[in-house]
């Protein structure tokens, strides 16, 4: 079946270029393609449909991504990065980063542009670089499945991401050698997959609680294949990790009470706790009680090894996380308010994200929306599927599907007194443009600085800075006399441009706002070329592996025939000669394999093949 799919994939290839859809999750990532109008999740080498978003560097300097990185995490905790998505596009001095500093087992350091870097084995990596390693892995998974190179991708981000975080994700794509044709929101992608090809005509809510973020979006889906987001909101720091943290706290507190030791001080112990907590949490979705058993978790001062043993009930977990669930519901309420809709107007609720498997969450959702949530979509795969659908819809010729998304945060400028003046409110459908008139704040002011910000606070300092520029050549006048019209425009690709003009002199200045990911374009280029070198290395690796394998198969086969060949023709000169030649070929091949030089091995493979043919002729002839 797989084969026939690939063949048809080959056939389709001529018409269009493939676009893959990647759900770059906090805990798990997933890649999908649209195959014959069916969104298909591509399994990784291990056969899993999702890949842990974990990156590690081994002692030998080798990079590990996914399941393998997860497996070695305990023994290599300081060099294993998980949940990097929580740091992407963040400023060094943000509270989120401060929080991460306390809780991560890897080392976070300050970057050159007020950004965040991670130190792994004496080398520092930017967050987009870390994410790019995961993207590269997903790209490779897709390429292996399609047996063709992939360059274009649609990547999803939490709906509540700001432009800096989106830009950083785009940069990660670029570093991974991907042309990111669009960044779309995770809940929107889920809705696309939910409504794809089904002629849905309804108002739906998407409730997405993943490992790191919570998003809720309200959409109108029309029979014409249009998906229009009406409102979206969320929290980029509310997810499964926080549930795990509650369990960890509980375990740590219990241990401290018993032994007077703080397990947090030990990074290895912390990593084990983290794994155990998540495991228990997941188990409790199915059973009512989970055992947590961590022998030899730490050595006491007396050098005596201590064990951690606890039993967590579902009820206890629900008690520990009650406020987190409440917060999800609060945010959902906000979304409905923003959409100006009543609960009864929501016709379906789609659950997305691994955390929605938790019974208490399902119950809370059902109570709030007063209807049983929809279970038709796979919570872990639906986002990647939606991304693949959007990718195909953009590049295909017959475009029957249209996605209309909104700005999750207000956009505006900072005005006198650090006040944030909104120009484009949140939940505005793009493309859009709006203007407002401002005046000068000082007498004889001849220039103004236009500071472009994004956020939902009236206080400019609480919002994200997106960019700034200066409008000069203003007429000298008393304050409040010069009128400056500022126009914001967001195009379909989400690119923001800002134009400011003096209404009288016509003097104008405009910029295209490039959100700052924490990396300069040059850095992104350099990292991309580093990464592609790394890819080349890795490709060479693959070539060596396959050449070696081929050589070894041939060596084994020739070895196996050697005795028989010797027996049948060893008496004759030509026979002795042949056997001798064969032996030499084997030696040379073994040496080549030792050298790890793929090309040298391949040369020997040819010789081996000749030898094998000859031997077969001899053996078969008798």
């Amino acid at each position: 079946m797989l084969r026939s799919q690939r063949e048809s994939a080959e056939a389709e290839k001529d018409h269009m270029e493939r676009v893959i859809g990647i759900d770059l999750g906090t805990t798990n990532s997933c890649v999908a393609i649209l195959e014959q109008q069916t969104p298909t999740v591509v399994p990784n080498r291990g056969g899993y449909k999702t890949t842990p978003s974990i990156v590690a560097v081994t002692e030998a300097g080798k990079r590990l991504v996914g399941h393998i990185a997860k497996r070695q995490a305990i023994t290599n905790a300081e060099n294993t990065v998980y949940a990097a998505k929580r740091l992407i596009g963040r400023k060094w001095d943000s509270p989120q980063v401060k929080n991460a500093l306390m809780t991560t087992s890897y080392n976070i350091v300050e970057g050159p542009h007020d950004d965040v870097r991670i130190e792994l084995r004496n080398k520092t990596y930017s967050i987009p670089e870390i994410s790019s390693m995961i993207l590269q892995e997903m790209k490779m998974v897709a390429e292996e499945y399609l047996s063709e190179p992939v360059t274009k991708a649609v990547i999803t981000v939490p709906a509540y991401f700001n432009d800096n975080q989106r830009q950083a994700t785009k940069d990660a794509g670029a570093i991974a050698g991907l042309d990111v044709i669009r960044i779309i929101n995770e809940p929107t992608a889920a809705a696309l997959a939910y409504g794809f090809g089904k002629n849905v005509d309804a108002t739906v809510a998407v409730f997405d609680l993943g490992g790191g973020t919570f998003d809720i979006s309200i959409l109108e889906i029309g029979g014409q294949g249009v998906f229009k987001v009406i409102a979206t909101t969320g929290d980029t720091f509310l997810g499964g990790e926080d549930f795990d943290a509650r369990i960890i706290d509980w375990l740590v507190d219990g241990f401290r009470a018993e032994h007077g030791i703080d397990l947090r001080e030990d990074r290895m112990a912390l990593q084990r706790l983290r794994d155990a907590a998540e495991k228990a949490k997941c188990e409790l979705s199915a059973v009512h009680e989970a055992e947590i058993n961590l022998p030899f978790i730490i050595s006491a001062a007396s050098n005596e090894a201590l064990h951690l043993q606890a039993s967590l009930t579902r009820a206890k977990l629900e008690e520990l996380t009650e406020d987190l669930i409440e917060r999800c519901i609060e945010i959902s309420k906000q979304a409905l308010e923003d959409a100006q809709l009543g609960i009864e107007e929501i016709e379906d609720v789609i659950l997305v994200g691994g955390m929605t498997r938790m019974p208490a969450i399902q119950r809370a959702v059902q109570d709030f929306f007063r209807r049983a949530p929809n279970r038709s979509v796979h919570p872990d795969e639906v986002v990647a599927m939606g991304a693949a659908i959007q990718g195909a819809a953009l590049i295909e010729d017959k475009r029957e599907m249209l996605l209309l998304d909104v700005t999750p945060h207000a956009l505006g400028i900072m005005t006198f007194g650090s006040h944030f003046e909104e120009l484009i409110p949140m939940n505005t459908t793009v493309p859009t443009s709006m203007s407002k008139t401002f005046t000068t704040s000082r007498d004889n002011q001849t220039a103004v600085k236009i500071i472009v910000m994004q956020g939902d606070s009236k206080n400019a300092e609480d919002n994200e800075l997106l960019g700034e520029f200066i409008l000069t050549g203003l007429r000298r006048a008393a304050k409040g006399q010069v009128e400056i019209e500022v126009t914001f425009e967001i195009n379909t690709d989400g690119i923001v441009s800002v134009d400011a003009r003096d209404l009288e002199t016509g003097q104008a200045q405009s910029i295209q706002v490039t959100a700052s990911s924490g990396l300069t374009p040059d850095e992104v280029r350099r990292m991309a070329s580093d990464a592609s070198e790394f890819m080349l290395e890795r490709k060479a690796d693959d070539a060596y592996e396959s050449a070696k394998q081929r050589a070894e198969t041939l060596i084994a086969s020739i070895d196996g025939m050697m005795a028989e060949v010797e027996r049948s023709v060893g008496g004759a000169d030509f026979g002795r000669d042949a056997v001798e030649k064969g032996r030499r070929a084997l030696d040379a091949a073994r040496a080549a394999v030792q050298s790890r030089d793929a090309e040298a091995i391949l040369e020997q493979v040819q010789r081996l093949e000749r030898t094998e043919r000859m031997f077969r002729g001899v053996v078969g002839g008798t």
Binding site: Q224, L394, I395, P431, M434, D443, N491, L503
Partner: protein, 536 residues
């Protein structure tokens, strides 16, 4: 609904001499062929589009012309093709490709009055006639990976944007259900969203598509929420209510017209020499739906001598049958089913009285005057003015009626001024600066005639600012600024505004004069000083 792009047709058998018009109007009337749109007429007459719109509005309210909505019905065949400078484009039924969504604009029935049954039967032939597009056809040659038909669709829809109401843009009736609005929006946005053309070179069409998309979304967002829809409906209603009196306002700076019923000199309506006119057509509310055929047949048209059917129908619908406007695609299903409002009752009484008196063949003009008085009592100012206008057209030599009309215009302006302010504010908030400029101007005039000069000045200034934002001509802006000063000469800022406008027009000495006067008012004003230095 702003009737554009629109194709005016002279009413057949019209006796021009009965109309209270001047040479300019007559000239425009003589150029109408039922095919040319406003921009073509502007070209053939050498008048500005704003003037043309204004004249057409006036002619329409006098019943001299009727309109066809471009893209919906085609114009009469009797006329020769327009002197189009560009190659004709193939016939199109609608800017919207699918007939299912291009529901006729609510006022379409008004453009094919039942009194003129011939027009209906001609339509089939007419559709084959090439029509002049409402946009610059040379844009079709702009490079883009789009076929010609798509380019045409985009340009047509874009041309419609500044004038169409949200309902018209989406092609839905004004009582459309939320679901129908959503459907219409989804169908249209599918066709005009740039994602549909992803990866293609769209050239100048990209920004046009984005403008269309945002306008469609704005319409949908406004209409899909009860609160914003109610606000918008109220705004539309207000626009329509004031619609009837727009002609009573002389255009800014238009030279006095002789023989013009409402142009009699009145000191409280200042006029500037030969400044360009503001285009009040933008302000116009929609053409109201005409009464159902049964109503129309009640009116015995043969009895009226000077102003036949159209004028009366116009009046009748303005008096009583406007509530059905756009609410139903089938005019015969119009009210009265709603509880009768005072206004409707008055209207009915008026009509009854009118019918009765017409029967007795008394002076038609006198009936209109009496109707005007009733309308005034019920505070229906648009009808008040309109009734007098018709009366004046019936008795062009009656000085008393003419004076009454002048008086009525002033009164109506005054009474409606606050409505105009509200409209202007809504328009300004929504970024429709051109419309806002006009509404402010009208508000200012009303305030002016009410003697509230400080208010008048303030609104003239707002009008000037909006006009500047919209990119109106400097002359227009200057004229409005001048009016602000005329209304309130004590405000330094107003004078400085005007000075700067003069300066930009190259009228240095006038600018210096204004600055001088500003400095007389406030000798230490720094801005004034700086400007003075600059002007030297």
């Amino acid at each position: 609904m702003d009737e554009s792009p629109r194709r005016p047709t002279p009413r057949p058998g019209l006796d021009w001499r009965t109309l209270p018009i001047g040479p300019k109007e007559a000239f425009v009337l003589s150029r109408l062929d039922g095919l040319a749109g406003v921009s073509q007429i502007a070209i053939t007459t050498g008048l500005g589009e704003g003037d043309v719109e204004e004249i057409l509005d006036r002619l329409e309210s006098l019943g001299a012309v009727s309109f066809r909505h471009e893209g919906y019905r085609s114009p009469p065949a009797i006329a020769p093709p327009p002197p189009s400078p560009a190659p004709p484009s193939p016939p199109r039924a609608s800017p919207y490709p699918s007939p299912s969504i291009s529901a006729p604009p609510p006022h379409s029935s008004a453009s094919s009055p039942p009194a003129n049954p011939a027009s209906a039967s001609r339509d089939s032939i007419l559709d084959l006639k090439p029509r002049a597009p409402a946009y610059d056809v040379s844009l079709l040659d702009e490079p883009a990976d789009l076929d010609r038909a798509t380019k045409e669709k985009i340009l047509e829809l874009e041309a419609l944007l500044p004038r169409a109401t949200h309902y018209e843009l989406l092609g839905v009736p004004e009582d459309a259900e939320k679901a129908a609005i959503k459907r219409a929006y989804f169908t249209l946005i599918q066709q005009f969203h740039t994602d549909r053309f992803y990866g293609k070179n769209l050239g100048i069409f990209r920004s046009k598509l984005e403008r269309i998309s945002s306008a469609l979304t704005k319409a949908q967002d406004t209409l899909s929420r009860a609160k914003t829809r109610a606000e918008y409906d109220q705004y539309l209603a207000s626009r329509r209510e004031t619609h009837g009196v727009r002609d009573s306002l002389p255009p800014t700076g238009a030279p006095p017209r002789s023989g013009d019923a409402d142009s009699s000199d009145n000191p409280s309506i200042p006029r500037a020499p030969a400044a360009p006119a503001f285009e009040p057509a933008e302000l116009a509310g929609s053409v109201p739906t005409i009464p159902s055929p049964s109503h129309a047949s009640e009116v015995n048209s043969e009895r009226i001598s000077a102003d036949p059917i159209t004028g009366r129908r116009l009046l009748a619908r303005k008096l009583g049958f406007r509530s059905g406007e756009g609410r139903s695609e089938n005019p015969s299903s119009l009210p009265p089913s709603d509880p009768e409002t005072t206004r409707e009752r008055v209207a009915r009484e008026l009509k009854d009285r009118f019918d009765a008196r017409a029967e007795s063949q008394a002076s038609a003009a006198a009936y209109y005057v009496s109707m005007a008085n009733s309308a005034r009592e019920s505070k229906d100012y648009p009808s008040y003015v309109n009734a007098l206008r018709i009366a004046a057209s019936l008795a062009p030599d009656d000085v008393a009626i003419r004076d009454a009309l002048t008086q009525a215009s002033i009164e109506a302006d005054r009474e409606l001024a606050d409505k105009f302010v509200q409209q202007a504010q809504y328009e300004q908030r929504d970024g429709y600066y051109e419309r806002a400029a006009r509404s402010y101007e009208r508000a200012a005039r009303g305030k002016e005639s009410a003697g509230l000069l400080a208010d008048a000045a303030r609104y003239y200034r707002e009008a000037a600012i909006c006009a500047a934002k919209e990119g109106a001509s400097l002359k227009k802006v200057a004229e409005l600024a001048r009016r602000a000063v005329a209304a309130n000469g004590k405000k330094v800022e107003y004078r400085l505004d005007l000075a700067r406008a003069y300066e930009k027009l190259g009228m240095r000495s006038s600018a210096q004069g204004e600055v001088q006067r500003a400095l007389e008012l406030e000798p230490d004003n720094e801005v004034a000083r700086a400007l003075q230095k600059q002007l030297r």
